[in-house]
């Protein structure tokens, strides 16, 4: 009786993906314990975040992909509308406003867009009767640019870049011509020296600092310098859990959120890094398999985009902490402290599971 209920509840959970996620989340809690200076409060708060996010993921696994496809356009429209409202009220309160206070709850429309934008694009391509034409790609690009520009104006460069990425993956998977991709890369690359020469000295300096933060060690470079020391001093095996001196002695900024990877790498070393990369790879491979096996255009485009966006998060965060990418505010997925990004991330995985398990049901039934 009890096992039956259990089986019914977990019917739509992809066991392999779930195992990988839970294991990574557990690793994250251990790192957070160390990074937060052994704060039980932080751990409890994060466990609550994870519980809520897992529950929402479970709820999404029970939604049929067909239903997801149907709600894609209204969800997208609502998201854009909320972004516009935030934009208007953001101006009233001078500056960056990402939250919309509805009295009872606060929502961050840019988080909705992380899911809604790729869903909308996947929906658009799945509705084409014929192979997508140039016009279709143009329309898809516009559909993508609307939320991206609105979020960039908030201003939230990190999120807007990630959403552009997730949209680009959909467009790429939908079959954007190779010639066009290579052509744009060549044209943009060719224009670079021209743009560069158009900039003022101080603008160039800012861009240089963005890409090489060590030039500004008193400002933006401080994070990077301290983080690379943490990584480098970790060595092969790491200094051991709770023993990272950089992390424990207050030298690492934002060490529970965007820079948590530096704590991990200092305490667990290269070995730990490789294990984490392996865990991420397992999740990504599973995601790509789900995308490859998906039955509808919508499902496969969405699954592909969600998986690659997860990769982008991980890559950008680890790249920025280790000093090969500019510092943009992107958390390490499944590890960094924080509720909102956890929820949108796990909802994404919920969609992946729904695509996988519902296809199975259709096939067997």
């Amino acid at each position: 009786m009890l096992t039956e209920i259990f089986q019914k509840l977990l019917k739509h959970i992809d066991a392999f993906l779930m195992a990988c996620l839970l294991f990574t989340l557990l690793v994250g809690l251990f790192v957070l314990y160390s990074a937060s200076g052994q704060s039980i409060d932080k751990i409890s708060a994060q466990i609550i975040n994870i519980t809520i996010a897992l529950f929402m993921m479970w709820a999404v696994t029970n939604v049929q992909p067909q239903l997801l496809e149907r709600i894609a356009p209204p969800l997208y429209l609502v998201g854009v509308l909320l972004l516009i409202i935030v934009e208007i009220f953001g101006h009233v309160s001078h500056g960056a406003q990402r939250w919309l206070d509805l009295g009872v709850i606060k929502i961050q429309p840019s988080e909705i867009m992380r899911i809604a934008a790729p869903m909308m694009l996947a929906w658009y391509f799945s509705k084409r009767e014929v192979s997508p034409t140039k016009t279709d790609f143009a329309i898809a690009t516009i559909l993508l640019l609307i939320p991206v520009v609105l979020i960039m104006k908030q201003p939230d460069l990190g999120t807007s870049l990630l959403i552009s990425g997730s949209g680009f993956f959909v467009i790429f998977l939908a079959g954007l011509s190779w010639r066009f991709i290579i052509g744009s890369v060549v044209v943009l690359g060719g224009c670079m020296p021209f743009f560069w020469s158009m900039l003022h000295d101080y603008q160039r300096r800012r861009i240089e600092i963005l890409f090489d933060p060590t030039q500004d060690p008193l400002g933006a470079g401080y994070h990077t310098i301290q983080a690379t020391i943490a990584l480098g001093s970790g060595g092969i095996a790491g200094k051991g859990w709770l023993n990272g001196s950089q992390a424990q002695l207050d030298f690492l900024p934002e060490r529970t959120t965007d820079f948590i990877f530096a704590v991990f790498a200092e305490e667990f070393g290269l070995a730990g890094n490789l294990i984490l990369l392996f865990l991420f790879s397992l999740i990504i491979v599973r995601g790509l398999m789900i995308a490859a096996q998906a039955k509808s255009t919508f499902s496969r485009l969405l699954a592909g985009s969600i998986t690659l966006t997860f990769f982008t998060y991980a890559f950008v965060n680890m790249g920025m902490v280790s000093g090969i990418l500019p510092v943009v505010g992107v958390p390490l997925p499944l590890i960094s402290y924080g509720g909102t990004s956890m929820v949108s991330l796990l909802i994404g995985f919920g969609i992946l599971m729904s695509i996988q398990t519902n296809k199975k049901l259709v096939a067997s039934g």
Partner: protein, 653 residues
């Protein structure tokens, strides 16, 4: 494949999708290999290096503050420079017990509660590895005392820091301005402008005048040293460093000798003077009296001095040239005259027969001239010379407020002059629309009448008045006024000279300009309202006197300066340019509660012009200082009812 009408071929699509998915798979693989390579580099190849950095304790990033640029006048007289003082600084991360350390230090060097309060505030705002001053301005004895005991205080250092000094003290304080300690508001501003990291190690920032408005030029670029320090906090090795870039030097167009002469001429009277080169817009003198000593503000002003300055009735802290607003009084007449001439009103040989007052049709209210009984036959030129009110009442009425206002607007009335220091106010040039917005009342004809003689709602700043005079002297070409004439690189000495900018060009008839110019020259000749200003000058002065009412005079009252409280006496105004044929200097003077413009403000202007044009330095305590009022001069221009906003008695429909 190419045909867009081809129905979706699912087989094909699946195949293409999987191919692209594989490409992305390789993309992921490549990304992870890249990261692994980076991890390998940091954690294996460079492990020893980072290991040493982390273990040998920490690296510290020490900012090296740049030298602030100097400010000098047009002849190289230094108005603001830097000097070294000893400071005692503590690096919080290296001190275990603050209270014990500080109480030990205070046995050697006096530490006041104020120092302690400031230290705690700074400590809360800074990173733990930055050194924070506990005491500044240590004298030689204190410095030596601490130096021999230095070993007892790890983390406490004796440093020499640059401080700012204004050698001329009070002179030109409103123009040069001052720097002060960076406060929360400055911090917020720096954060907003993304300049915070450039201010690490800097405690001071420009707060007013040139120091404030040219902060980004004067400050320079902060350098840094990335230093490895051992457990005792001693620097072991410099890992990398970047030298600071000194701030640029600023050369003002002002002449400090001229400034001194002008300020001395004011004596203990309140007021303002602005002198401009009409052809270029260079500001030659920028006087606001009384003034204050900029040096008081550099390291935080003490309570007593602050009270003294802030609560003084003379309001020394107000920047009068930019923020003092006064009715222009009769100095407005040359501009009203041009407005009339350019609109083809009152062109020669037009004249009136002034019987001492002006009345509006359908009203018995008399707008009186300053001269009871009137001036007799008066044409435009003579109207300026003798400052005939009756003439300008009629002129203003015939022009109408809109035409008059829109014409003089081009001379800068009612708008900021655009001078290169912050804080300017725009004064007020009234129009019926403005009055409706402001008071929800219609415009009355009587209000137009008095605008003609610079009374009523019209308000100008001394800066505006000087600029208007300069535009007049420059025949309608408005040059943007500026205090900074060049910005020089302290290393190379190469100066970037400020190019004169034409901000407006008014097309004016030469003949009309000539009538106004002749009228204004006559002002300083015998029979004019400021005859003493032109007497034995050796050059021709085109000028206009003015008087601005402070309190309203009732219709049947007579203005009697002696009976009125000193602070309620009229303001004296004076505008002039010289030489009248080829103007080199244009100026505006306001002496608050000075009485009449010709007698109170005129002599100040004369001294300034004498020095600038002839190099004549006034003898100390010349008899000119004692102003004898010439009975022939209109002492009470405003005894006519210049109804101000507050004492309007008669309304005109």
């Amino acid at each position: 494949m190419k045909s867009s009408h081809e129905l979706k071929n699912y087989q094909n699509e699946q195949h293409s999708f999987k191919l692209r998915l594989t490409v992305l798979g390789f993309f992921v693989l490549f990304g992870f290999i890249l990261l692994t390579a980076r991890f390998y580099f940091l954690q294996i190849s460079r492990h020893d290096y980072y290991q040493t950095l982390a273990e040998n304790n920490r690296i510290s990033i020490v900012p090296i503050t740049p030298n602030r640029g100097l400010i000098s006048d047009r002849n190289g007289v230094v108005l603001a420079h830097n000097f070294f003082v000893y400071t005692l600084e503590i690096t919080p991360s290296m001190v275990k017990d603050f209270d014990a350390t500080i109480s030990e230090i205070s046995k050697l060097v006096e530490v006041s509660p104020l120092d302690l309060k400031r230290f705690k505030k700074l400590k809360a705002e800074s990173r733990t590895f930055e050194s924070i001053p506990l005491r500044t301005h240590l004298n030689e004895v204190e410095a030596a005392k601490f130096a021999v005991n230095r070993f007892r205080f790890p983390g406490v250092e004796l440093k020499s820091r640059l401080f700012r000094r204004y050698p001329l003290g009070k002179q030109g304080a409103h123009m040069v301005g001052y720097i002060g300690r960076i406060n929360d508001k400055d911090l917020a501003n720096l954060t907003k402008n993304n300049a915070l990291s450039n201010y690490k190690g800097t405690d001071h920032i420009g707060k007013s005048g040139i120091e404030q408005s040219y902060e980004s030029v004067l400050h320079g670029t902060t350098g840094f040293q990335q230093v490895e320090i051992d457990a005792d906090g001693k620097a072991v090795r410099i890992l990398s460093s970047q030298a600071p870039i000194s701030g640029s030097n600023i050369i003002l167009s002002a002449d400090s000798k001229l400034q001194e002469i002008a300020e001395t001429a004011f004596g203990d009277r309140r007021g303002a003077l602005v002198a401009i080169t009409p052809g270029t817009g260079e500001v030659l003198a920028f006087v606001s009296m009384p003034t204050f000593d900029s040096n008081l503000f550099v390291d935080g002003i003490d309570v007593e001095n602050w009270k003294l300055l802030n609560e003084s009735l003379d309001k020394p802290l107000i920047n009068r040239p930019l923020r003092g607003v006064y009715p222009p009084g009769s100095t407005f007449k040359p501009f009203a005259a041009l407005a009339g001439l350019e609109n083809d009103k009152r062109k020669p040989p037009f004249s009136i027969n002034d019987s001492g007052f002006y009345t509006l049709p359908s009203s018995s209210h008399r707008y009186r001239d300053w001269k009871p009984g009137g001036h007799g036959v008066v044409d435009m030129r003579r109207a300026i010379t003798i400052s005939c009110d009756t003439f300008f009442y009629g002129l203003a009425m015939e022009l109408g407020i809109n035409r008059l206002s829109s014409f003089v607007h081009h001379f800068g009335f009612g708008q900021k002059s655009g001078i290169d220091i912050a804080g300017e106010v725009s004064g007020l040039l009234p129009t019926p629309e403005w009055k409706m917005r402001r008071y929800k009342q219609p415009w009355y004809m009587g209000e137009t009448v008095i605008v003609g003689i610079g009374q009523g709602y019209t308000l100008t700043t001394p800066m505006q008045l000087a600029q208007a005079t300069a535009i007049l002297a420059n025949k309608g070409v408005a040059m943007r006024p500026h205090l900074v004439s060049a910005i020089a690189d302290p290393k190379t000495g190469i100066a970037k000279v400020t190019q004169p900018i034409i901000s407006d060009k008014i097309t004016l008839d030469e003949n009309n300009l000539e009538i106004v110019r002749l009228g204004m020259i006559d002002v300083t000749l015998p029979g004019g309202t400021a005859a003493s200003v032109g007497a034995n000058a050796g050059y021709n002065v085109a000028a206009k006197t003015g008087t601005a009412q402070v309190i309203g005079i009732k219709q049947n009252e007579k203005y009697n300066a002696d009976l009125i409280n000193e602070r309620h006496r009229d303001h004296a105004l004076f505008i002039a340019y010289a030489p009248a044929e080829d103007p080199k200097i244009a100026l505006a003077v306001i002496v608050e509660n000075g009485g009449h413009g010709g007698s109170a403000a005129g002599p100040i202007a004369r001294k300034v012009m004498d020095y600038y044009l002839l190099g004549k330095v006034p003898a100390k305590e010349t008899p000119e200082e004692i102003v004898v009022k010439n009975p022939a001069e209109p002492n009470n221009v405003n005894s006519a009812n210049q109804s101000t906003n507050t004492n309007e008695e008669v309304h005109y429909d």
